[in-house]
Symmetry: C2
Subunit: 432 residues, 2 copies
């Protein structure tokens, strides 16, 4: 049997413990598929004594994770510490700088420092791999880097945050409002105590920046992603969307717009017959559209110890087999800094929801705002008013520039009869 | 720029011409992703003069494809000749025997001779790659070999033949019978003039044998696959299935059954809420269920020049990057010959459809046949009789052994009142 690939593992939370368990449970299967055993030799975590259900006594221990790559008995470091900067980044730099390969699930670090780390990887020849950073167990990084490698990709998009999808689909199924489902999800462990990263779309934006780099050969650039979260989505929006033939999903979407790249995370209306409309609960899904392959869809568990560990170990198997190639498919110096697409270049249909005082003349003011912004609408619905004397108004536009509809919404928001901030959601087309 | 990877291409049908076009159109993108250019240098086909819309004058020509691997200017051979034996097999043996890597879309050859070719690949160190052999452009071979490599897989199944799926979904949508849709599909180029390979399930069985080898570490063994096609499926079956909450799909399914492996291709009832029920037209879809990753779903175009060429070139990119590893994930000598699961070990719920003479006593005879075989039923439906005095009887069983339900169907088929051969279809469970 050839010598094992020796792993230094930093971070022993849910995923880290899952990696240890997976390597234990499927050791012989993994060794035969990888061509050599894969063995954790040293670990690092904040608290050595915490009960994790795994025996740590057989591993070396480092109080400081950044000591792992310097160990002579470590070939590859697995970084599961998390956080865009701090100890995770120190560890990543130390590992790649020493010419040892790094496997990470850290989308925040990749979105912020992916270019620097990819350059370091190119320079030292150490691999940087991150299948677990996007869409948990779904092999979508490999799907883009390898499976779709022959294609010019036109769009990449998907449901990239399981917490948001869980909340939106529970709201729909249980007729519940956002705040109630969030509280319930926190109780059940499906949402963090501080849920902002998830529900405000930041986690999905990190993942989208990583997907964009792979798909379009651009530098990962979180600042180029336009981000909106799901807090403003109400049960009424979901019901109105359903009545119009759509489901509401938090969609991260990147697409070429001439010489620019549009990257957007937003709660969106997805046609009921679109495959993303069928993605329920904590599942993730990614669609990649290529010039030769057409539309590819990948679906699976986006989080959890088992699926994420599966993706981490898939990367380790690839390294053990001797795979090669740059982190983002192209050499880091070939990654370009495409400018973000201006909102004027982004077009499509949009959903607008307003809460207005229920009195004569309001609709005339709203439609005047649309006219003055050059936006024409396909439908306008005004469900029965509530007991509070306020009415819901829901509009679907024809194709228009995002700048135009945004201007219309600004005009409407300034009207005295419009009570809450309006909600604007893009509508995903059924076909590419 | 490093030296190009030089390709000898055998077979210039739809897919072969598509590979030439793809390598032309995306040449610079592919070169930067692969780290070196990928260039066709020599080709072989039956008819040199045929108009294909591509300029062959820049390539070397071989009348005999098996001369390609011996050429000094060829590094890798792409085999798109087709056929389990004959010229394709001769070419594959010659290529791998000379230590040159082979990329093939030939599922029939892999299902029949995959073990021999994998052994040859292991011996000479040449790679054997076949992403295009299963599910067209969908990177499901890489998904299993790499993405799910850390998992013990419990089941792999899917819609593996686009022609059958096209026919079944057209029947449902257009209220048409099998023969009419087949004729129309042949006219539109979606079905071959001789459609037997597709509609009798043989093509899907080839692909299932290849998936099983990768997923379960078994030798590809077409003889171990139980095969039924879609010819006996009527519009009435599709309507009855829909009324019961199912869609009819040709499903290829492989799963462990103790120390045996069950591999079956059969028209099957798929629950309306199962992701495979949403797969329409010529799309393909593969589900892989792993012990850590859970359920993964891959969807995309299962055939056509663009998607298949995309998969062929994806393999070439991997070879250009220097990827390594055995054909079926494990060394060929480690692949085991699991016995086929006996039908008695296969259990589940089943759909039974009979056409019977519409007279008193028939139902009593049918239910007696079920009782005598130890099969209990969940439902029995008898839609209104036709003008021919014949009645349709549709039954759904509770969980039972396949041997038991097969015995019951045999008993029923022997009854004088049962007119046509009964149709027995397995019901796919919603969850694994």
């Amino acid at each position: 049997m050839p010598s094992p690939l020796r792993i230094g593992l930093a971070g022993l939370g849910t995923v880290g413990a899952g990696v240890v368990r997976l390597l234990d449970q499927n050791a012989s299967l993994i060794a035969s598929r990888a061509g050599r055993p894969i063995a954790v030799v040293a670990v690092s975590a904040r608290d050595r004594a915490r009960e994790r259900g795994i025996d740590l006594s057989r591993f070396g221990w480092e109080d400081d994770a950044s000591a792992l790559p310097a160990r002579e008995d470590v070939d590859v470091v697995v970084e599961l510490v998390g956080g865009a900067d701090g100890p995770a980044l120190t560890l990543a730099r130390a590992t790649l700088g020493l010419g040892k390969s790094l496997v990470t699930a850290n989308k925040a670090m990749l979105a912020h420092h992916g270019l620097e780390l990819a350059r370091l990887s190119d320079r030292t020849g150490a691999l940087l791999r991150f299948e677990a950073a996007v869409a948990g167990g779904i092999p979508v990084i490999k799907g883009l880097r390898e499976g779709a490698a022959a294609n010019q990709l036109t769009r990449v998009y998907g449901i990239l945050n399981g917490t948001c999808n869980y909340i939106l689909t529970r709201m729909a199924r249980e007729e519940s409002e956002f705040a109630d489902v969030l509280a319930e999800a926190q109780g059940a462990g499906f949402a963090e105590a501080d849920p902002a990263f998830d529900i405000d779309g930041i986690d999905a934006a990190h993942k989208l920046a990583v997907l964009s780099a792979l798909a379009f050969g651009v530098r990962p650039d979180l600042g180029a992603v336009s981000i909106a979260g799901i807090r403003p989505v109400t049960l009424a929006d979901i019901r109105q969307a359903e009545a119009l033939g759509y489901e509401v999903r938090l969609v991260g979407l990147a697409e070429r717009a001439g010489e620019a790249l549009s990257q957007r995370v937003a709660p969106s209306l997805v046609p009921a017959r679109h495959p993303l409309a069928a993605i329920e609960g904590a599942l993730n899904a990614v669609v990649a559209e290529g010039d030769h392959v057409g539309r590819l869809l990948f679906v699976g568990a986006g989080a959890g110890a088992g699926p994420t560990a599966s993706a981490v170990v898939a990367d380790l198997v690839g390294i053990a087999r001797g795979e090669a190639g740059p982190a983002f498919s192209l050499p880091a110096d070939a990654l370009v800094a495409l400018p973000p697409a201006p909102a004027a270049a982004r077009a499509g249909r949009f959903y607008i929801r307003l809460r207005v005082e229920d009195r004569p003349g309001v609709l005339a003011d709203l439609t005047a705002a649309l006219r003055d912004s050059g936006v024409s609408i396909e439908s306008l619905n005004q469900p029965a008013s509530g007991a509070d004397g306020l009415a819901l108004v829901v509009m679907v536009t024809h194709d228009c520039a995002e700048t135009a509809v945004a201007a219309a919404v600004d005009r409407m928001a300034a009207l005295p009869a419009v009570v809450d901030p309006p909600l604007l959601m893009p509508i995903l087309p059924l076909e590419g």
